[in-house]
């Protein structure tokens, strides 16, 4: 194929790919831990809108860490809705005028579990933490991940934070923390309950659901960034009973 043919070929591909998404597209930045759940919800939403109006809405999901999404939104990223892993970042966006005031709400409560891929390693009261029969305990980085901050809170309540320091390995987010444990590089770790509930993951090993008396459940909040009817429609769909049952089945608490 000569050069001109190749160029026109790329041009055709380019035109096809851009015109295809010219319809109603909603870009949703979503916290990595909620991404699997959001995929299910978005699919339902697309099916639903396709039936009534004939014009199917398309939801494009952008998974990532909430800190990164925050920095991108502050610098003009073209997202319509933001589902954060915490409540601080949506609140800041609202304050900075980068989001629609009054649209912020808690969509899910993140729950923490202590999980190990080894059967019977973790008892029903988390006493395994005291026995210290492990080289590494994985947590998400408390400085940047709300799940990590909760893990720190749990260890502090148990008075184990200080003497656990030399055993801690930190994932940059809860997904990476999960990887450390599932690959057995760390024998156990604090991960999100939703992660071990994920249907695409075959649960093995043992876990301890950390009681809510020793940490505050993680308030995961969402906010509308750009004022649009489709954005509002999507946010209210996420609050519908149909979505709430998906959220709850995925291992999150409901607000």
């Amino acid at each position: 194929m000569n050069k001109i043919n190749l160029l026109s070929c790329f041009f055709v591909i380019y035109v096809l790919s851009t015109t295809h998404v010219a319809a109603d597209v909603l870009r949703v930045a979503v916290a990595s831990n909620f991404y699997p759940t959001m995929k299910l919800i978005a699919k339902r939403y697309e099916l639903k809108t396709g039936g009534s109006s004939g014009q199917q809405h398309k939801v494009v999901l952008i998974p990532g860490s909430s800190g990164k999404h925050f920095a991108q939104i502050m610098n003009g990223a073209p997202f319509d809705v933001f589902f954060s892993a915490d409540e601080e970042r949506p609140r800041l966006l609202e304050k900075e005028g980068k989001a629609q005031t009054g649209t912020r709400y808690t969509y899910a409560l993140g729950k923490l579990v202590l999980w190990s891929p080894i059967d019977g390693f973790i008892d029903s009261e988390g006493l395994v933490l005291n026995q210290k029969d492990f080289r590494y305990l994985a947590i998400a980085n408390p400085k940047i991940s709300p799940y990590g901050a909760s893990a720190e809170e749990v260890l502090r309540s148990l008075r184990l934070w200080d003497n656990m320091q030399d055993r801690l390995v930190r994932g940059e987010n809860i997904t990476q923390t999960f990887q450390f444990v599932s690959s057995s590089n760390a024998k156990l770790g604090f991960v999100a309950y939703s992660q071990i509930q994920n249907p695409s993951f075959f649960l093995r090993g043992s876990f301890w659901e950390v009681p809510q008396s020793i940490y505050k459940p993680i308030q995961q909040q969402a906010i509308l960034l750009k004022d649009s009817s489709i954005g509002k429609e999507f946010l209210s769909f996420v609050q519908s009973d149909e979505s709430l049952s998906i959220i709850s089945k995925s291992g999150y608490g409901l607000p």
Binding site: G67, N141, G171, Q179, S184
Partner: protein, 228 residues
Amino acid sequence: MLNEFDISALIVTLKLASVSTIILLLIGTPIAWWLSQTRFKFKVVFEAIIALPLVLPPTVLGFYLLITLGPNGPVGGMLESLGGVSIAFTFTGLVVGSVIYSMPFVVQPLQNSFSGIGRRPMEVAATLGASPLDRFFTVAVPLARSGFMTATVLGFAHTVGEFGVVLMIGGNIPGETGVLSIAIYDHVEAMEYSQAHWLSGGLLILSFIMLLFVYLFNRRFSIMRSGD
């Protein structure tokens, strides 16, 4: 401005880059020499393998390393059964990752310089009675010094800039596996943009100076050689 973790990240990073560069030169030199001299038919296969880290996302390498080094992986399992300990989440683990990751940046400039020498200087030295090892150190190495310079600086700089691999196998332990690039990432994630600026700006200037140094040296060297 900089907190204690930033300082320790800086120290770990410089230590990692230095150790990795030394190991890379020790391993990379014989590989590069062999590649430059051999007429082996399947040499291209080795060249392609060494160049892989250039095109692969570092996360791919990190992900594979995490799995291989883990207790269930081939390498980690073997170490464990021999009574050793897993090297994931250790400084040693980072060195292993960095050596693989920065290998092409050391081997390729060395191989180019060795090839550039040609066969003649080596043959002349041989007729004068120099042994192969003697020929290598007294003829090939001095003639390839610009290659060594480039290899050293690129290997070092590329290891300083490493992110995906250490992210996956490091575990961000302060003073052990917490490096500069991750400290910057953490500052951005934590919305501490001024600290992120300090570290990023510092790294930018450092990298620029290192590269400037390479280009200056190579330019002077080539002028010197053309003047011979």
